[in-house]
């Protein structure tokens, strides 16, 4: 009886904490939704984010931009390419760092870590010059190359950690069973690391998808702009279309939400459980 009451109180308290946390994080989001659906161009000053009059005008405004489709495609292409390039380069590098010992390994790892200490903006000017020299300025390829400079080291760290948790026995069993080391990597290690690869890819995708400063610096052609740059244009120096900006923000967020939904099963780790003694 007593125990049950303690359980009830505990449950109520933890739910209260969750409700407060959710309200705290959702409040600004709800304001964005409210602004997107309210008539008028500026958000109203009120406590509760409930629109007075509902309208889809702002959504129309955002979607009626002349290049909105090609800009959305541009954003997706750049982000997917960043994720794929990042994973493709990081997988073998992370595997080597996890499994082999070689000269310069620790120094290399430290160097990789060092690249993570600077904000991307700090390298904006050198990257600009490099891209100009390579003739990649104002191209999506150029932007992907820039994003890869940060996504690759990050992905290497993520994946190396994941590979470290995969027992060597699995590859050795595969090699005894008749696989080459590369075969063991492809057939056994990669499937076992799938959740980590999915998460790493998702992070690379998101960081590219959300990035603004480099995209604004490097891309110039209107139809190739990525969505964060497009969004920013709605709140210019002289007039601010907050409604359209809010509506656009929600639309732009949808793909990432969708991705999270698809990948969430992989976010729950534990695929390797049971392979070796558990």
């Amino acid at each position: 009886m007593n125990e049950r009451r303690v359980g009830w109180v505990e449950s109520a308290l933890s739910h209260l904490a969750i409700v407060v946390g959710v309200a705290f994080s959702l409040y600004p989001v709800l304001w964005v939704v409210s602004t997107a659906l309210s008539a008028g161009s500026a958000p109203e000053r009120r406590v509760l984010p409930i629109p007075r009059s509902l309208t889809l005008d702002h959504v129309h405004h955002f979607l009626s931009g002349p290049h909105v489709v090609s800009q959305a495609v541009s954003s997706l292409v750049v982000s997917v390419a960043t994720a794929l390039v990042g994973i493709a380069i990081a997988l073998p590098a992370a595997y080597a760092l996890s499994r082999f010992t070689f000269v310069g390994k620790e120094a290399g790892v430290r160097l990789l870590l060092a690249t993570q200490m600077f904000p991307m903006v700090a390298s904006a000017v050198p990257l600009y010059i490099v891209l100009e020299t390579l003739g990649l300025l104002d191209t999506r390829t150029g932007l992907v190359v820039c994003y890869a400079t940060t996504s690759v080291p990050f992905a290497i760290f993520q994946l190396r950690g994941a590979f470290d948790t995969i027992p060597k026995d699995l590859e050795e069993a595969a090699m005894v069973d008749g696989a080459t080391r590369f075969g063991a990597f492809v057939r056994v290690v990669l499937p076992a690391a799938r959740p980590a690869i999915a998460v790493t890819g998702l992070f690379a995708f998101m960081s590219a998808y959300n990035e603004f400063i480099l995209a604004a610096t490097i891309l110039g052609k209107e139809e190739a702009l990525t969505l964060p740059v497009v969004l920013q244009r709605f709140v210019g120096e002289h007039d601010a279309a907050w409604g359209a900006f809010a509506a656009g923000s929600i639309l732009v967020s949808l793909p990432v939400m969708l991705l999270f939904y698809v990948v969430q099963k992989n976010l729950v780790a534990g695929l390797t459980a049971g392979g070796v003694k558990g």
């Binding site: 027992p167 026995d169 699995l170 050795e172 069993a173 595969a174 090699m175 005894v176 069973d177 008749g178 696989a179 080459t180 075969g183 057939r187 056994v188 499937p191 076992a192 799938r194 534990g270 695929l271 390797t272 459980a273 049971g274 392979g275 070796v276 003694k277 558990g278």
Partner: protein, 367 residues
């Protein structure tokens, strides 16, 4: 199937010498057990046989083939890992088929072998499950099945039972023995468990500090340990060791220590024994009160009982002899009281005498 011949194998990790000059012979269809304490090099030796580590010297042959420098996949071996190493993303069936598919075995043949192995090991109800859905014992069986379907030349076992509980371990031990009798594959089995070593092997190799300390049929090694290390390692409870003096007295050799006076057999002493300091080794199972010895006694041991562990069919009397601890096995019926004096006898062939400094049995002396 093939015989395994290992000659002078060496292995170093950095500055540490792990194996030095190891020779192993396993006849075709034989079951060799490499046994020793942790760090003795037995697992490294198995990994060398598998090709997962490369030898720094020496040679490894399977039948006529020199496999010393071959990659694991080219050696035609199957291995059961201590961790089982089942592929987590594959079902039991696919785990079994993995190696066969890599070798492009025809579908029908794969199916046939899986059926055969799952019958042998009772895997049928598990075939569609994933490793994470299996118990420890089931995983162990799948790991065995994955080795069996391969029909490899040599089977390697790396402490395959160490993750099972005691009851299951005893069961699987018997199963492995049955399987080997049925399949007859040349096997090399690594364990630190002396019971597994004694029961499974037709030849055991006791390793110590990277060397083979003694090898032979298990009962022979047990009955005639060549060194104090081997004597201490095989047998449970472990052999009693007593610092003693070897004396020549009235034409006979006698080993004496406080409370002990025994006459070893001639074969235990080797050629030309010299009087002096020795270590006397007596197994708890070999001593008994003189009237229960059933053989002619070869001396007397005066023990003082400290603790009696009665197990029903037998009891272990933890005593002191002189000042030293001494364990004696007694038949279930005898229950000496705590603190009482216990007179024990022993047959001459069960008296082991080791050199005090080198630890070698006197019959195994160098030079």
């Amino acid at each position: 199937m093939a015989q395994v011949t290992i000659r002078g194998v060496e292995k170093r990790f950095g500055q540490t010498r792990v194996l030095s000059g190891v020779d192993i012979d396993v006849p075709d269809g034989g079951f060799a057990v490499l046994v020793g304490p942790s760090g003795c090099g037995k697992s490294t030796l198995l990994r060398l046989i598998a090709g997962l580590e490369e030898a720094d010297g020496g040679s490894i042959r399977f039948g006529d083939r020199d496999v010393t420098r071959l990659a694991p996949r080219d050696r035609d071996i199957a291995m059961v890992f201590q961790s089982y190493a089942l592929y987590p993303h594959l079902t039991v069936r696919d785990n079994l088929a993995f190696g066969l598919e890599l070798r492009k075995t025809p579908k029908a043949e794969i199916e046939k072998r899986i059926t055969e192995a799952s019958e042998m090991l009772g895997l049928d109800p598990l075939l569609t499950r994933f490793p994470r859905q299996l118990s420890g014992g089931q995983r162990q069986r799948v790991a065995m099945g994955r080795a069996i379907v391969r029909r490899a030349q040599v089977f390697l076992f790396d402490e395959p039972l160490s993750n099972l509980d005691a009851a299951l371990r005893a069961q699987v031990r018997v199963d492995i023995k049955k399987l080997h009798d049925r399949i007859g594959a040349t096997s090399v089995y690594v364990t630190h468990d002396q019971v597994e070593a004694m029961t499974l092997a037709d030849r055991i190799f006791v390793l110590n500090r990277g060397r083979v300390e003694q090898s032979g049929p298990p009962l022979e090694v047990y009955a005639r340990p060549a060194t104090r290390f081997v004597a201490a390692f095989l047998g449970s409870p472990a052999m009693n060791f007593i610092d003693a003096e070897l004396e020549h007295e009235g034409g006979r050799w006698v080993v004496r220590a406080p409370g002990v006076s025994v006459r070893p057999s001639v074969s235990a002493l080797g050629d030309a024994p010299r009087p002096g300091k020795v270590v006397l080794g007596l197994r708890p199972h070999d001593v008994a009160p003189p009237e229960e010895l059933g053989k002619e006694g070869a001396g007397e041991i005066h023990a003082q009982v400290e603790v009696l562990e009665a197990l029903g069919t037998e009891s272990f009397a933890h005593c002191t002899v002189g000042e030293l601890p001494f364990v004696a096995r007694l038949p279930g019926a005898s229950r000496p009281a705590k603190g009482s004096a216990l007179l024990l006898g022993i047959a001459a062939e069960h008296v082991h005498v080791f050199e005090a400094d080198s630890g070698r049995a006197l019959w195994n002396r160098e030079g």
